[in-house]
């Protein structure tokens, strides 16, 4: 089975954080790395997209988005009735788990590169599209039957012009416009250096996650269990849907990873504005402290194994 060494940098960061090492990645470097990562993922997808035809993607795209809306609707009652969480907290967590994580996706992309497998370029389009519906569903769940107006304008501005969606879409368009023929000069920066810079980014993520892991003991067993079981459940949906839609094995792994991942950049910002009464520490703690490390160490190889099994059985 393919092993992706880049995740070890995350572990290194976690150890440094827990051991209170003086290791720090300067904030400006972290910001620059996140800009790079978003652009690189966007451009890579855009170049692949330029090689494929778009029209046959519409129906599968709708199915993928529909399941993306379904995930928060499954999370919400589970959190509220089994977890005993407040309405706002359940809705906010549902939005986080329905939305997606770009870095988890990047780790899966690196995993596929290591395994020598290709994937469909339009998976990056779904990465962008899947960030949004779950946030809207989460806000509606929090607001249903409650007084008080929702700041839709500010929330949507935060979602669409927040740097993650903005740079992903921007990179996608640039990659698509350049196509495989003209992307040459940008290749060394955006393709060849991708893994190395992802390693730096994961080191910083490890430092940040270490702080969340330390906080998480206050949140209880239910939430920790949820943060592990829910991604696996969502990934199973993704594996079957990807297989049913006839995606490649690589594409199915990415779809499963998208469904399994939980947002910790776009969703926290949107939820803080739209559902301010939800406790942000719960959702960031669960998504960054548990689900993200679980996904990159256990999840991605597990989802690959599940997809591989289905493909070898189903042909």
């Amino acid at each position: 089975m393919a092993f992706e060494p880049v995740v070890l940098f995350f572990l290194l960061g976690v150890i440094a954080g827990l051991a209170k090492s003086d290791l720090k990645i300067p904030t400006a470097v972290y910001e620059a790395l996140s800009v790079y990562l978003l652009l690189a993922i966007g451009i890579t997808g855009g170049v692949k997209l330029a090689e494929s035809t778009l029209l046959p993607l519409i129906l599968p795209g709708l199915a993928i988005l529909l399941v993306g809306c379904l995930i928060p609707l499954i999370c919400y009652p589970v959190l509220q009735y089994f977890g005993g969480l407040k309405r706002a907290d359940s809705a906010s967590l549902a939005a986080h788990y329905g939305s997606v994580s770009v870095v988890t996706f990047s780790v899966a992309v690196a995993f596929l590169a290591q395994a020598g497998l290709d994937y469909e370029g339009h998976m990056v389009v779904f990465l962008v599209l899947l960030e949004i519906p779950a946030l809207v569903v989460g806000i509606l769940l929090a607001r249903a039957g409650m007084a008080g107006k929702t700041r839709w304008g500010k929330t949507l501005r935060e979602v669409f012009f927040g740097k993650s969606i903005f740079l992903l879409i921007g990179g996608l368009i640039i990659g698509f416009a350049a196509g495989p023929d003209h992307i040459g000069p940008l290749e060394p920066l955006f393709f060849d250096l991708f893994k190395g810079l992802l390693a730096f980014f994961l080191l910083e993520m490890g430092l940040v996650a270490a702080a969340k892991i330390a906080d998480f003991r206050y949140y209880g067993k239910f939430l920790i269990g949820f943060a592990i079981v829910m991604p696996v459940f969502s990934a199973v949906l993704g594996v079957f849907l990807g297989w049913g839609l006839g995606l490649s094995l690589g594409g199915t792994l990415l779809l499963a990873t998208l469904y399994a991942s939980a947002s910790y950049i776009a969703a926290p910002a949107a939820m803080r504005i739209a559902v301010p009464e939800a406790n942000p520490a719960l959702s960031i703690g669960a998504s960054l402290g548990v689900t993200f490390p679980f996904n990159i160490f256990v999840g991605v190889p597990l989802y690959f194994w599940m997809a591989d099994l289905l493909y070898s059985m189903g042909g």
């Binding site: 904030t27 940040v208 702080a211 803080r272």
Partner: protein
């Protein structure tokens, strides 16, 4: 003697920067200064590493009425759900 100018210091979450500044300007402030901040308090440790985890400090100099009006508005809007610290102190403006 009653000082004529007061310094209002606001410490809150970075995500509120644009909204708070709109409100401060709407209430008639002549200017403001924003700095990035980090710290620890009732809402946990704010490390300042990324937006969800960072604070800002906004300072406004103006009349007592202006400072009180801004405080009242911000308390009403944000106190329930966000980290918020409001301080007013008399100052001498030297230029």
């Amino acid at each position: 003697m009653e000082p004529d100018k007061y310094l209002l210091t606001i410490v809150s979450e970075s995500i509120l920067e644009d909204r708070m500044i709109d409100e401060i300007r709407e209430l008639g402030a002549n200017g403001y200064t924003v700095t990035d901040a980090r710290g620890w308090g009732k809402h946990g440790k704010r490390r300042g590493k990324w937006q969800q985890d960072s604070n800002i400090q906004i300072q406004v100099v103006g009349s007592r009425e202006l400072c009180e009006a801004i405080c009242a508005r911000l308390k009403d809007q944000y106190q329930a759900d966000f980290g918020l610290l409001l301080l007013i102190s008399p100052v001498e403006v030297k230029n």
